[in-house]
């Protein structure tokens, strides 16, 4: 296993831990996006550019955005009540 691969694995482990450790959901959505980006770099280094491309668009664009929109809706509801 090359140094690059080991580095990518460590970065993914750190980003995953950071996602879980983050308590504020809004920040968590952004950190989860960074975690997804580190995963896509891992996929690319291990020779799966196709999966990496899907991972980038889904984990850094679609998922954080939907989480943020859902949080915006829930947050406003909380203020109403």
């Amino acid at each position: 296993m090359s140094v690059l691969q080991i580095t990518a694995l460590i970065v993914v482990a750190l980003a995953g831990t950071a996602t879980v450790a983050m308590r504020d959901p809004v920040r968590q959505a952004v950190v989860a996006g960074i975690f997804g980006l580190s995963l896509s770099i891992l996929f690319f280094i291990f020779g799966a550019p196709d999966v990496a491309l899907s991972q980038i668009v889904v984990a850094t664009v679609a998922v954080p955005l939907m989480v943020l929109l859902a949080l915006a809706k829930l947050g406003d509801q909380g203020e109403d009540e």
Binding site: M1, Q5, F46, G47, P49, D50, A52, L53, S54, V57, V58, V61, A62, L65, M66, L69, A70, A72, K73, D76, Q77
Partner: protein
């Protein structure tokens, strides 16, 4: 349940999960190991019998084409579900309020963000179309390109040009496009039954390997999936944005 009992259960489950993971990973082939026979076989089949250089596209749209049909219908069902659930909660009068609020908020968007969003939207649409159209040649394809196309819409949103969909007509257009793209995949699958031997069998000219117009039905399926994914995501995001705007009025 006491805190200690909970902690013990979590520890037990964690250890069990770790053991299962280690056992599962230990037998995996090393990343630098020679590829298995099935990899060489599917590479050869995709390259010589389907004329595609992106072997992943050859597998997802030919060898496992029926799986991809299922995935496409899952996304279609998800978009329909989101629309039905969210639209049941909204009324026409509040839609106008949301559009007005969006119009007011447009002035608050910084000029730099608007300029950046407007400048990037065009190139990203071109890039998304490129990824969709070259799915049979290079990594990428309908799914990835479709999400990139939908991301271009988000940039338009950031640019503050279209903050709400005040009339129903753009959404109608997206809905119809999505349904047609989902149906196109099904029709290509059925076309194999009619014009060839079995469902999903190629029935159009394969073209020259490495050229843009190659891969037969794979290229058609890539474009259908690209349009389907782009419109499904646009629909879901538009509905969610409408909800967020309605809430803030």
């Amino acid at each position: 349940m006491s805190g200690r009992a909970r902690l013990a259960m979590v520890a037990l489950a964690g250890v069990a999960l770790a053991v299962v993971l280690v056992v599962a990973v230990i037998d995996l082939p090393r990343p630098d190991a020679p590829p298995p026979r099935s990899a060489k076989l599917s590479t050869s089949v995709a390259l010589h019998e389907r004329h595609v250089t992106n072997i992943v596209a050859g597998i997802t749209f030919d060898l496992r084409g029926l799986d991809t049909l299922g995935e496409e219908l899952i996304l279609f069902a998800a978009a329909v579900g989101v629309s039905v659930l969210l639209r049941a909660q909204r009324e026409d009068s509040t839609m106008q309020d949301a559009a007005d609020a969006a119009e007011q908020r447009r002035a608050q968007v910084p000029a730099s963000a608007r300029a950046l969003g407007a400048a990037l939207a065009g190139p990203i649409i071109v890039f998304g179309a490129y990824i969709v159209a070259h799915g049979q040649l290079t990594p990428g394809g309908g799914f990835q390109g479709g999400v990139i196309l939908a991301a271009a819409l988000l940039l338009v949103y950031v640019a503050g040009q279209v903050l709400a969909l005040p009339t129903d007509s753009p959404v109608d257009l997206v809905e119809v496009t999505e349904a047609l793209a989902a149906a196109a995949y099904g029709l290509v699958a059925v076309g194999g039954l009619i014009f060839a031997s079995a469902a999903m069998t190629n029935f159009v000219a394969l073209g020259v390997t490495g050229h843009l117009l190659s891969g037969g039905t794979i290229l058609i399926l890539e474009v259908a999936v690209g349009i389907e994914v782009a419109s499904a995501l646009t629909l879901i995001l538009a509905e969610l944005l409408d909800q967020a705007l309605l809430r803030s009025t």
